[in-house]
Symmetry: C2
Subunit: 412 residues, 2 copies
């Protein structure tokens, strides 16, 4: 048996060819889920997979499975993949790298004429980004039972078009029931979408899990008044209180370093007039940590700081938690497989926690799962300037090949 | 000669009758400049003035002068007044009180058969609010030469209608040249629009001047990044920097107490998305002080704090002064006349600085000027809930009568 190895040139060429579909002027891509561009990307992927002798199947939510047969067709497959849809001003590696690295694993196994015990499937999940049809990670959520098929298919874009209609239009409304089969393991290769690997000069991120997320909506209410005649001590300025609270919220993350993160991303001031003291401010809080206990402590701090701010600034307000996504811990042997594969190839590596959500989050609920990160330039993602080094892309695919092969040779 | 005294009942009744024009459900008024409601209010005022034997004249910008003749028609008149237009959700006393108090002065002089040396004119200035046609204080600005007539008449509302067209429609596009005559003195009675008189339990505010105003536009630029994968130390969060600066801006006012005021009224965050670290924040600064040197020192502090914030938070930015309106100091003898009149009637009183702009600001540039403030409930104004006590309204009109009579008896 020839020692299998990915063909780096082929991988990079495939990534470049794929990046031409929906290419933007600034070097990124726009391939919103269910659009013609998404359909074209799927067609290209299917074409390549068929040329690699894969069996192609599409489920009812449009998830696209390309199977390389194993010695024992009755054994559950090892699934590898990510997504081909993008943000409106997305980068060419977010998602596409994981799908085409999975394809390259299959191509490399073909090159070496290796027969695995289990089937290996390269999957492209439908609508991971959620940019056109909320929520995000839709295909994997339906596959794993976290979201109802009917809810996913009836999700509408801003023009009122449903996901069902868009899948019909591009020819990817499949007939296979969603989640009809168990998976033996799931691996997803992805750019980090953050600056850590680059800062630490590591090639491979051995992803241990995904941060838990709490989302809050906060409103502070004071009293609108004229900027001119109202003395400072008589004011109940909602923006003044909000500015104080924004700084306290930042401090909560710093009190839970290095993994705690807080972001106030949406922030609106009313009546938003130059010479009127703001009477109301509404803003969001995004709070993340890999440890659920820390997320409880961070939430407690937020509530305490909110209360203190209202008292101190004579404001009234409301703080409401609107979403909680618990931390995900990937499976220990899968994590170790990734680490061993990196060591085997002498790729510098480190353990890392994913700050963003991925389809692996849902897959981790139904089968042993882990992820492989590679660095992205300046930590930039969801940005047309997103970039990654060829060597790193190839290294990530090589690690994916190693772990896939290990799992696909497990007969139990 | 009978000692002249305002007829309180008549004043309050006139205010109530006027408040029915453009009345809103919440007890305020909507009489935007140049609308049918503005026309109706002018018609009512003209009707009352004619019944009080006044000569009515309208200038080219629609300013409405109702003159009670004096013994010496060649002497310049004493002008009293304010405005009849309102904010979209305005109160019934802002402006209307000053106009109808002026009318009541004329009526009271008629009752007492007093002949003054100089003519006395009750004026209603066009478009003081500037809500429909910017800028504010338009009629008095044109009258005093601070604004060109053609610029005023070509000002457009959001539907593209010009002030000229709106004046034509309501029949108040006059033929008299603007500012064709000198004035001997100008007095304006007005609700305070702030909480100071009420807090100090004073009936009359002896207004010494109007605060100077500086307006700034400020932009802070960091880097958009994902809320999840970006560690706190790697962030360049524009909102974090802006929150810090907002608090420093508040501190600048507190460092210049009791008269310094700063307000951040307009505040916008980009891209304003829940899970994206803000890359850019734009906001306004409204800075006020009655002393020009303090306004220089406040501006210096703002520039220094802006620079410090950029350095400390790794942000870039721009701070631009877009408008400066210097402080107005009313004329000393006019101020003293107001104070003496209050003392004469044993009205509790205090010296006060106007935080808001008024037509008196422009008139002060061309003739001896002062203002008379009365308290408004809870300091509320530009609000349909604006309210004032009958006793205070009557006291304000009585003071206006005294100072008008004093000035109208000056033959030099």
């Amino acid at each position: 048996m020839k020692k299998p190895s990915v063909n780096g040139e082929r991988l990079i060429e495939s990534l470049e060819t794929m990046a031409r579909i929906g290419a933007t002027e600034k070097g990124g891509v726009c391939r919103l889920a269910g659009t013609t561009e998404d359909g074209d990307a799927r067609n290209l992927f299917v074409d390549w997979a068929k040329k690699a002798n894969c069996d192609v199947a599409v489920d009812q939510v449009g998830n696209l499975f390309c199977q390389r047969r194993g010695r024992h067709p009755e054994l559950s497959p090892v699934i590898l993949g990510s997504h081909l849809d993008s943000q409106p001003t997305g980068g060419k590696y977010d998602g596409a790298f994981g799908v085409l690295a999975a394809l390259e694993v299959i191509r490399a196994l073909n090159d070496s004429n290796i027969e695995t015990d289990r089937p290996i499937e390269a999957v492209s999940w439908t609508n991971e980004e959620g940019s056109r049809f909320p929520p995000a990670m839709m295909g994997s959520a339906v596959f794993t039972g976290a979201l109802k098929l009917s809810d996913a298919l009836s999700a509408k874009d801003l023009d009122g078009c449903t996901l069902q209609q868009s899948l019909d239009q591009i020819g990817y409304a499949g007939s296979m029931p969603c989640g009809n089969k168990p998976a033996h393991a799931y691996f997803e290769a992805h750019i980090e979408q953050g600056p850590i690997l680059e800062a630490e000069s590591k090639i491979i991120g051995v992803v241990e899990g995904i941060q838990g997320i709490r989302w809050f909506d906060c409103t502070l209410v004071g009293e609108e008044a004229h900027a001119g005649p109202t003395p400072m001590p008589a004011r109940r300025d909602a923006l003044s209180g909000a500015a104080h609270l924004v700084q306290q919220i930042e401090a909560i993350a710093n009190d839970h370093e290095p993994n705690g993160r807080t972001t106030v991303g949406q922030f609106q001031v009313f009546p938003n007039s130059r010479n009127v003291i703001p009477g109301r401010v509404c803003f969001t809080v995004d709070m993340r940590h890999p440890d659920p206990n820390s997320l409880v402590s961070m939430k407690d701090s937020l509530q305490a700081q909110f209360k203190l701010t209202c008292e101190k600034t004579k404001l009234e307000g409301k703080l409401e938690e609107i979403w909680y996504s618990p931390p995900t811990h990937f499976e220990q042997t899968c994590i170790e497989d990734v680490e061993h594969a990196a060591l085997l190839h002498q790729y510098s590596n480190m353990r890392i926690i994913s700050g963003a959500g991925h389809d692996a989050k849902y897959m981790a609920e139904v089968c042993p799962t882990a992820m492989i990160f590679i660095p992205c330039k300046d930590g930039l993602s969801h940005n047309e300037l997103e970039d990654a080094a060829d060597d790193h892309l190839i290294a990530g695919a090589q690690v994916l090949l190693e772990v896939a092969l290990t799992k696909a040779m497990e007969t139990e």
